[in-house]
């Protein structure tokens, strides 16, 4: 993992002091509500429906056991004993006191963490594959580049006041788990024919009320130009992005207005002035970062297949968990494990301080002190020796973190929705819970196989409903909460470009949602050919068979 040096520590201490000063001036009446709003957002603090919400950055979803214990402490000391894993790999606290936030930030700084730029119209936390450094299909670990981008974008003097928020995602694997096509900038890192690291640069993707798949504007950008090219993209966006209407202010609207080619031309006109200048990334500067993310000292372990077969026979539930929550690792004898937060009855992504402490202990015991937060709102232990899988599973069961549903229907992505969020049209957590209760038969859910259900409480799409295989969106109909359902979205998988879901038709009342889902799944089960996934089946048969069945009773 990346370790702070004196420079980082000093910067962060100064940032905390700066924010403390801002908070004090606000409380003393020297900063207006509107002025302070902009400053607190850039330090992670929202004011939500019920209370402030503090969003802590977990850069590219990687954190250490020590850091997670500090988050557990913050949950206990400053919150109500829990935190929430967000779809952008961050941790959110729902009940901090505004006046105490500088103290929380100081506690975070003591473990090299912060809440900088987790909100506001600026460059946000860079996200990546939660299996970075572990996944068997990884071409290269993108995290050194994520860290470069984190540093470069932190407190950038020119790009702190953009038209709107700006999200960058990077992947270094063949299977894109970072959803790069639906980010303001998406980067795919790989080696070119000469073995040099290059990037495909996508721009203008995004969800929200105008969902768009990003356009590829540069194929094979050499590593040395990464920062200068992004600087030019940012400059064009900062200068020409719309500021008159916040719903039209994202870069995707600008790219559409200029066309991808026009946008690229504008970027490269600027880039021509800076690409040969001092903004180049030197291999020597990258070296310490590559070293920081070098693989841990793996042992030469047996894959333990015989024991594992034995355990599977003894514990059918372990077998299910192994099937869904344990993925192959680069290194023989190891596995990457998803600890699902999606137990029935718990809001997706919510974790208690006790669970955090337990996960931190397992990270120390089994995974080189390292763990991840996935955009599906689960914890991941990236490097677990296979010989410890049974013990880990037993311990995770005691903490309610062993639900065998990673990637299945009940592993839903769900935003905080109307229970917490002041922007919501409708609640989302009760919908997720109703679905979990309705589909609590493991065999059925297992038989359905890979299925992403994504739920957002409004069109801001924090629950990524557009790219759910089944997406559920809270809408407001004459003051009543309704839900619009779409089918067929996905964020890019094994060779397929990302696609946005298609809306099935008029929206539904909350009580109807689970029934509609059951109908959709019936159609799939009847129509699928052999072990065809829900998504492949949809891509083959299209929307109509689903639509006809759903609305048949309403005619």
């Amino acid at each position: 993992m990346y370790q702070y040096d004196e420079f980082d520590r000093q910067f962060l201490n100064e940032r905390v002091a700066h924010y403390r000063d801002q908070t004090e001036r606000y409380l003393a009446g020297n900063l207006s509500e509107e002025e302070f709003l902009q400053l607190r957002l850039r330090n992670g603090l929202y004011v939500q429906r019920l209370a402030p919400m503090l969003r802590v950055a977990v850069p590219y979803g990687t954190l250490s056991a020590v850091q997670l214990r500090k988050l557990a402490y913050i949950a206990r000391r400053y919150d109500r004993g829990y935190g929430h894993l967000s779809t952008r790999q961050n941790m959110q606290f729902n009940w901090p006191e505004l006046a105490e936030v500088p103290d929380i930030l100081e506690a975070l700084a003591s473990v090299e963490m912060h809440a900088i730029q987790t909100s506001g119209s600026c460059i946000r936390n860079v996200t990546t594959d939660e299996f970075s450094g572990a996944a068997a299909d990884e071409v290269l670990d993108a995290r050194p580049y994520c860290e470069v981008l984190r540093q470069w974008s932190t407190n950038h003097p020119e790009f702190e006041w953009l038209p709107r928020k700006f999200k960058i995602a990077v992947t270094g694997a063949t299977h894109d788990r970072a959803a790069i096509a639906v980010h303001d900038i998406g980067l795919r890192a790989y080696h070119d024919a000469n073995g040099q690291v290059v990037f495909d640069v996508y721009v203008g993707g995004g969800l929200g009320r105008t969902p768009v798949i990003g356009a590829l504007i540069y194929s094979g950008l050499p590593e040395q130009h990464l920062l200068s090219y992004i600087e030019s993209i940012m400059r064009v966006y900062n200068r020409y992005g719309r500021r008159d209407n916040k719903y039209k202010a994202r870069i995707k609207i600008l790219v559409r207005a200029m066309s991808a080619e026009g946008f690229k031309a504008k970027v490269e006109e600027d880039w021509a002035h800076i690409k040969g200048g001092s903004a180049q990334l030197n291999p020597a500067d990258l070296e310490p970062l590559q070293a920081a993310f070098a693989p841990p000292l793996f042992e030469d372990l047996d894959d333990q297949q015989a024991d594992i077969e034995q355990w599977r026979l003894q514990h059918p539930a372990f077998s299910q968990w192994l099937h869904h929550n344990v993925v192959p690792h680069k290194q023989r004898g190891y596995a990457a494990v998803t600890l699902s937060t999606k137990a029935t009855g718990v809001p997706p992504g919510d974790v208690s301080d006790e669970q955090m402490d337990a996960v931190a202990d397992w990270a120390d015991q089994y995974s080189f002190g390292e763990l991840r937060i996935s955009h599906e709102q689960n914890f991941v232990l990236p490097h677990v020796p296979r010989k410890h899988l049974l013990t880990l599973w037993q311990q995770a069961q005691e903490q309610g973190l062993a639900t065998a549903n990673a990637g299945l229907l009940t592993d839903m992505i769900c935003c905080p929705g109307g229970d917490y969020c002041s922007l919501a049209n409708a609640k989302s957590i009760p919908v997720a819970e109703a679905i979990q209760r309705r589909f609590d038969d493991y065999d059925y859910v297992h038989d359905l196989g890979e299925l992403d259900i994504n739920i957002s409480g409004c069109m801001n799409a924090c629950g990524h409903h557009h790219v759910g295989n089944i997406g559920i969106l809270g809408v407001d109909k004459k003051g009543q909460e309704f839900y619009q359902i779409s089918i067929g979205g996905h964020s890019g998988h094994s060779g397929h470009d990302a696609a946005l879901g298609q809306i099935v038709g008029p929206s539904f009342a909350r009580e109807e949602v689970s029934d509609v889902l059951a109908t959709i799944l019936d159609v799939y089960v009847e129509q699928r050919i052999e072990d065809e996934s829900f998504l492949s089946c949809f891509q083959r048969i299209g929307l109509d068979p689903f639509k006809e069945r759903i609305y048949v009773n309403n005619d």
Binding site: F7, Q10, F11, E14, R15, A17, H18, D21, Q22, R25, N30, L31, E35, Q38, L39, S121, V148, Q151, W152, T154, N155, H156, P157, E158, F159, E160, W161, L162, P163, L227, R235, N238, R239, R243, H273, G277, S278, A279, Q280, L281, D285
Partner: protein, 144 residues
């Protein structure tokens, strides 16, 4: 009355603004005049010959003026006084300074002492900037 904070070598000084420059808009401007630009102006190479350039911020959250300042300093190579005017306040000045402004005209009612105190809240930066060159690169910069 408004106050203007100006760079004088490595020092910054607050001065009550007694003389208002004779600002000219881009369409009526002649070389040697004081030029007042809106944040969405294009960086015209002719502006190098202005005696003074002001960029007027419609809101402190409007970052266009920051990019324009960078372009005036780096592309146009304008080296005279570059003044931020309009709706600015003490918490955004440090960004402005790093983008090449060397004069900051605070709106009436803002506290100049606080503003001067907050001109450089950070001793190091993660990225290079226009001011780096002006400050004899005394500050650490991580990335260019």
């Amino acid at each position: 009355m408004s106050t203007t904070i100006k760079r004088n070598g490595d020092e910054w000084q607050a001065q009550a603004a007694c003389i208002v420059p004779d600002w000219k808009q881009p369409e009526e401007w002649q070389p040697g005049d004081a030029l007042l630009l809106p944040v969405d102006a294009e960086p015209n190479p002719a502006y190098r010959d202005a005696s003074l350039i002001g960029i007027e911020f419609p809101a402190f959250t409007d970052g266009r003026g920051l990019s324009l300042a960078v372009l005036l300093r780096t592309r146009v190579e304008y080296s005279g006084e570059l003044r931020a005017t309009g709706a600015i306040h003490e918490d955004v000045l440090h960004y402005m300074v790093r983008c090449g402004f060397d004069a900051l005209e605070l709106p009436p009612g803002r506290d100049a002492d606080t503003a001067v105190r907050l001109l450089a809240p950070y001793s190091g930066h993660y990225q290079g900037s226009v001011s780096q060159a002006q400050e004899n690169a005394t500050r650490v910069q991580r990335w260019a």
